[in-house]
C-alpha cells in the first residue's frame, strides 16, 4: 500500500513540477510586464520604473527567477503581487478557501442528487421516468455553461430573491457567529446551485450507464434468484461493484468542476481564485497568475490522487496488480 502511495505521490510531484516550469516559461514569453504601462505615464521617470523592476527582480533572466521562486515555494512564499503590493500566498489562501467552499458544496449537492437519480434511471431503464430524465439531462447538457450561469444571474437580478454577488453582505461585521454563517450560506446558495446544475447532467448519465452495466452482470441475476430483496441487491451487491467506475468519474469531475467554477465565480461575483486569476492576467501580475495556475493544478492532482487511493482501497483487483 505504501509503495503504491509513494509512487503516486512521486508521479504527482513530477507532474506539478512540469506544470510549474511550463507555466513560468510561458508567462515569460509575453513582452512587457506589470510595470510597462507605468512607462507611458510621463510623470513617472524611467529610472523609477527601472528601480521598481529591480526591486521585484524583474530584470533578471527567467531561469534565475524560476529558481528563486521555486526555493520560495518550499518556504511558503509564492512571490509578490504587484497589483496588491503584498505577498501572493496569503492572498491566494483566502481566495482558495472560498473556492474550496464553493466547489465542495457544489460537488456534494451534485453527487447527492446524481447518485439516486442515476440509480433510479438505471433501475427503471426504458420506462417513462427514465426517458423523461434522459431528455432533461440532454437538454441541460446542450446548454453552454456560460448561458446557464448568465440565466441564473438574470434570475437573481430579476427576482431579487438572491444576492447577486459577493460572499458577505456589508453588515457582516456586526453579525453574530450564527448570523455570519447564515449570511455566507445565503450568498453561497446561488453559485453553488449553478455549479451543481452545470455538472449534474453528465454525472447522472455516467452513473446511470455504470449501474446499467453492473446490473446486467450474472451475479446480480443470481442474487435476485436467491430471493434477495431488490433494495439489498442494489445497495449491497450492485453499488460496491459500480464504485470502481464511479470513483474514476469522481476524479474526472474534479477537473470539469474546477474549470466551471472559474466561470461561475466571475459571473456571480464569488470571491474565489477565478476572479483573482482574471484580474492578474489583465494586469500582468505574473506571480499571482503563476500561483493560481499552480494551485488549481494542485487541486486537480490531489483530486485525482484521492480518487486513485479510494480506488485502491475499494477495488481488490488493483491491489493485486501493484
Amino acid at each position: 500500500m505504501t509503495r503504491y502511495l509513494t509512487r503516486r505521490l512521486a508521479h504527482a510531484a513530477l507532474l506539478l513540477l512540469a506544470v510549474s516550469v511550463f507555466s513560468f516559461a510561458l508567462l515569460q514569453l509575453a513582452p512587457g510586464d506589470f510595470f510597462a504601462p507605468l512607462k507611458l505615464n510621463p510623470q513617472i521617470s524611467a529610472r523609477t520604473v527601472e528601480g521598481l523592476r529591480a526591486q521585484y527582480g524583474l530584470d533578471r533572466p527567467w531561469p534565475v527567477r524560476y529558481g528563486h521562486w521555486l526555493r520560495g515555494v518550499f518556504h511558503g512564499d509564492l512571490g509578490p503581487s504587484f497589483a496588491y503590493n503584498s505577498p501572493v500566498a496569503p492572498l491566494l489562501a483566502v481566495r482558495a478557501r472560498n473556492t474550496l467552499l464553493l466547489t465542495g458544496t457544489a460537488m456534494l449537492w451534485a453527487w447527492l442528487i446524481a447518485i439516486p437519480l442515476g440509480i433510479v434511471s438505471a433501475v427503471r431503464r426504458g420506462k417513462w421516468s427514465d426517458r423523461a430524465g434522459g431528455v432533461v439531462t440532454s437538454a441541460l447538457l446542450t446548454i453552454p455553461d456560460l448561458v446557464l450561469f448568465l440565466a441564473i444571474l438574470l434570475l437573481a437580478v430579476r427576482s431579487g430573491w438572491f444576492p447577486t454577488g459577493g460572499m458577505v453582505s456589508t453588515a457582516f461585521g456586526e453579525l453574530s457567529g450564527r448570523g455570519r454563517a447564515m449570511d455566507i450560506a445565503y450568498h453561497l446558495f446561488l453559485p453553488a446551485l449553478a455549479l451543481a446544475i452545470a455538472t449534474l447532467p453528465a454525472l447522472v448519465r455516467h452513473i446511470r450507464s455504470a449501474m446499467i452495466e453492473v446490473l446486467q452482470a450474472p451475479f446480480i441475476r443470481a442474487a435476485r434468484a436467491h430471493g434477495i430483496s431488490e433494495y439489498r441487491v442494489l445497495l449491497r451487491y450492485a453499488l460496491p461493484v459500480a464504485a470502481n467506475p464511479l470513483i474514476s468519474l469522481f476524479g474526472f469531475s474534479v477537473a470539469t468542476m474546477l474549470s466551471a467554477s472559474l466561470l461561475v465565480e466571475v459571473i456571480l461575483s464569488w470571491p474565489g481564485i477565478g476572479p483573482l486569476l482574471l484580474e492578474a492576467i489583465l494586469a500582468k501580475d505574473v506571480y499571482v497568475v503563476l500561483g493560481t495556475v499552480m494551485l488549481s493544478s494542485v487541486f486537480l492532482v490531489l483530486g485525482n490522487l484521492v480518487a486513485d487511493l479510494l480506488l485502491f482501497a475499494v477495488d481488490p483487483r488493483i491491489r493485486m496488480e501493484s
Binding site: 507532474l15 512540469a18 506544470v19 507555466s23 510561458l26 508567462l27 515569460q28 514569453l29 509575453a30 513582452p31 512587457g32 446542450t142 446548454i143 453552454p144 455553461d145 456560460l146 448561458v147 448568465l150 440565466a151 444571474l153 438574470l154 437580478v157 430579476r158 447577486t164 477537473a255 470539469t256 474546477l258 474549470s259 472559474l262 466561470l263 466571475v266 459571473i267 486569476l277 482574471l278 492578474a280 492576467i281 489583465l282 500582468k284 505574473v286 497568475v289 493560481t292 495556475v293 488549481s296 493544478s297 486537480l300 492532482v301 485525482n304
Partner: protein, 326 residues
C-alpha cells in the same frame, strides 16, 4: 438528416451575414441606445392587412410608418471577406431603424451583430478544431504505428495535457500573450493556442484506430510486397481514421466555439472591432443591463438551439459513419 440540414442552414446564414443582416456590425445609432426589439406589423391601426410588413417609429413626434423593403442597398460588406457587395435582404428607409433583436448601449443592431459575431466565433472554432485534429493525426498516427517507447512518451505527454483544467491552461497561455496587439493577431494566436491545447483526446482516439488498422491482414499483405511504412500509413492505415476524424471535428468545433466565446466574454479574447458572440454577451455582466433590457439576453438564448443542432448533427454523422463502414 434534419440536423445536418439545419446546421448547413445556420452556416449559410452566418457565412452570408452581410446579406441577411440589415446593418454592418459597427453601425451605431447614438440616438437609439438600448432600443427594444422593433415590432413588425402586418395589420395597421385601422385593421387593414398589408402584405408588406412595416414598422412604426413612435419615438419621433409624428409616428412615421416605414415599410420594410426587401433586397435593399445598404452598408457595403464583403462576402467571406473578399467579394464586395451591397445588397441586404431587408431594411427600412433612414432614419427608421429595424432592430429585430433590439439595440445595445451604442445603438448597434443586435441582430446584425449576432450574425456577424457568428462569423468570428464559428471561424475560430473551425480553425482551432482543424488544428487540434491535425496534431492529433500526427501524434496519434506515429504513436499507434510505431509503438514502443515513442508511443509511451507521446501518450504520457498527452496525459499531461488532459490532466490540466483546460480553462486555466488557456488562461495561462493567454496571459502570456501581449494584451495590446492587433485584433487579427489576437484572433490567430487565440485560435492557435486553443488548437494546440486540445490535441490529446483526438490523438488518443486516432492511436487506437491506427493500432487496430496496423494489424489488419491487408496491411500485412502490403508489407509482404515490400511496401514502406510511409506508403502503408498513407494508403491503408490513415484512411481508416477518417470516420473518427469527422466525428471528432463535429464534437470539437462547438467546444472551441464556446471556448472562444467564453474567453472573449471575459475580456481575454478578440475585441473591438471584430464582432463576436462573446462581446455581445459581455454587456450582460452589468447589473443595469440585466435588470432593464431583457432583449440583450437573446443572443445567449439563441446559442442553445445552435449547440443543439451541432450535437444532433454530430450524432447523425456518427450514425451515417456506422452504416457506411463495413
Amino acid at each position: 438528416m434534419g440536423a445536418l440540414v439545419l446546421l448547413a442552414a445556420f452556416q449559410f446564414l452566418i457565412l452570408f451575414a452581410g446579406f441577411f443582416a440589415p446593418y454592418g456590425f459597427a453601425a451605431q445609432d447614438r440616438e437609439q441606445p438600448f432600443a427594444a426589439p422593433t415590432t413588425v406589423h402586418f395589420w395597421d391601426t385601422q385593421g387593414h392587412f398589408h402584405l408588406r410588413p412595416f414598422i412604426v417609429d413612435s419615438e419621433s413626434s409624428e409616428a412615421r410608418v416605414y415599410p420594410v423593403r426587401f433586397f435593399v442597398s445598404g452598408t457595403p460588406y464583403k462576402i467571406a471577406g473578399i467579394i464586395p457587395a451591397q445588397v441586404h435582404l431587408f431594411g427600412v428607409e433612414q432614419p427608421g431603424r429595424i432592430f429585430l433583436m433590439g439595440s445595445d448601449a451604442y445603438g448597434r443592431d443586435q441582430f446584425s451583430r449576432f450574425l456577424f459575431g457568428g462569423q468570428s466565433s464559428m471561424l475560430a472554432g473551425l480553425i482551432a478544431a482543424l488544428l487540434s485534429v491535425s496534431i492529433g493525426i500526427l501524434v496519434g498516427g506515429i504513436a499507434g504505428y510505431y509503438g514502443g517507447w515513442v508511443d509511451e512518451l507521446l501518450m504520457r505527454g498527452g496525459e499531461l495535457f488532459l490532466a490540466l483544467p483546460w480553462l486555466y491552461l488557456l488562461f495561462a497561455v493567454r496571459a502570456a500573450l501581449p494584451l495590446h496587439i492587433s485584433q487579427w493577431e489576437v484572433f490567430l494566436l487565440l485560435v492557435s493556442v486553443m488548437g494546440l491545447i486540445g490535441w490529446a483526446r483526438p490523438a488518443r482516439l486516432i492511436r487506437g484506430v491506427v493500432l487496430s488498422a496496423k494489424q489488419r491482414n491487408f496491411v500485412v499483405a502490403a508489407r509482404g510486397f515490400g511496401a514502406s511504412d510511409a506508403y502503408l500509413l498513407r494508403r491503408h492505415v490513415l484512411p481508416q481514421t477518417y470516420g473518427v476524424l469527422l466525428t471528432q471535428m463535429t464534437l470539437l468545433i462547438p467546444q472551441y466555439v464556446l471556448a472562444e466565446v467564453t474567453l472573449t466574454f471575459l475580456g481575454l479574447g478578440v475585441g473591438e472591432p471584430l464582432p463576436s458572440w462573446g462581446t455581445q454577451l459581455a454587456s450582460l455582466q452589468q447589473y443595469y443591463v440585466l435588470s432593464s433590457y431583457w432583449w440583450m439576453f437573446l443572443p445567449a438564448l439563441l446559442l442553445i438551439p445552435l449547440f443543439l443542432v451541432f450535437y444532433a448533427a454530430a450524432d447523425a454523422l456518427q450514425e451515417i459513419h456506422k452504416t457506411v463502414a463495413l
